[in-house]
Symmetry: C2
Subunit: 150 residues, 2 copies
DNA sequence: ATACGAATGCGAATCAGTCGCAATACCATT
DNA sequence: AATGGTATTGCGACTGATTCGCATTCGTAT
């Protein structure tokens, strides 16, 4: 399901830092990784890379279309990256546990295009983030409320 | 159309800085204001406020539900604020001229709720930003392309 | 007018991310 | 395999946006 990414095919020479960051991303497809996550992953499991290089390589990857950058978290500004090999999707973020659920809704996707067309606007990109409380946290909330009542 | 905002009703004492920031926001409902925009507006038209106070007051307003904070601009992290007296709406941002168009689509709004309900998630907030090129910039683009051909 | 807590002004600090530049690594060519 | 020129890296310094600490001042209820 994950297409093997070849740096050369993306117009990037294969250097040690780039391969390391790519490996870090491929080893963590289940999560959205901050630059710091990548940094720490490499520090622990591979060889350390300076943060500036991590950022630089991620920026190169973003330009090459290998990764996508998001900023969830309406308050904080920390950015996260994910490999772009899967299909486009939007995100649902739990404001309690920070977990992120991915989804794709064809109705919303196509409606967006209709909206912009009606305004002579051409769409290049979009970001839809839903914020709320996930099923797991909701359950925990209910439990602790009950506990307080005792 | 703009409901007069009363600080006391929002649980905030009426201090000079707070009234000044509120006036700045009310005088600029047509745009989304950065903290710096507010700072400069007050510097020029009113009395100067330190940036830290501008930020603090905007944060207080956000908590009180008087303003809403957004971060458009997928790359940069600069945040902007707008008075929350109008109805909820989403944003369409021109990546050329940075102009922002506001819209509200009932279909998308209700679809979002359906999506989260199906997942036992409870929705507290959302942000939908469409990025692209506005009609005006599109026209200018076409013109300059023609000019190059000559 | 007084007193107390809340809010402000000031500058220092933080935080994420970027930049300049000398040292190094790639890679095509001998 | 050595060479050379370019692209990339490592390092630290730097930036811009935002936040914090704390002494001072303001707002409000006596
Ligand atoms: Mn994702
Ligand atoms: Mn708006
Ligand atoms: Zn959760
Ligand atoms: Zn435009």
């Amino acid at each position: 399901m994950i297409a093997k990414i070849n740096l050369k095919e993306q117009g990037l020479t294969e250097t040690t830092p780039r391969l390391a960051v790519l490996k870090a991303m491929e080893a963590n497809t289940a999560q959205h990784m901050s630059a710091d996550d990548v940094y720490r992953y490499l520090l622990e499991r591979d060889r350390p890379l300076p943060m500036s290089t991590v950022y630089r390589v991620l920026a190169q990857f973003e330009q090459a279309g290998i990764v996508e950058r998001h900023s969830f978290d309406a308050e904080r500004t920390k950015q996260v990256y994910e490999l772009k090999d899967s299909e486009h999707h939007d995100h649902m973020i739990c404001i309690k546990c920070r977990s992120v659920h991915e989804f794709l809704d064809p109705q919303i996707e196509s409606r967006q295009i209709e909206i912009v067309e009606n305004l002579g606007f051409s769409l290049t990109d979009h970001s839809l983030n839903l914020y709320g409380i996930c099923a797991g946290c909701d359950r925990k909330d209910a439990q602790s409320e009950e506990a307080i009542k005792q």
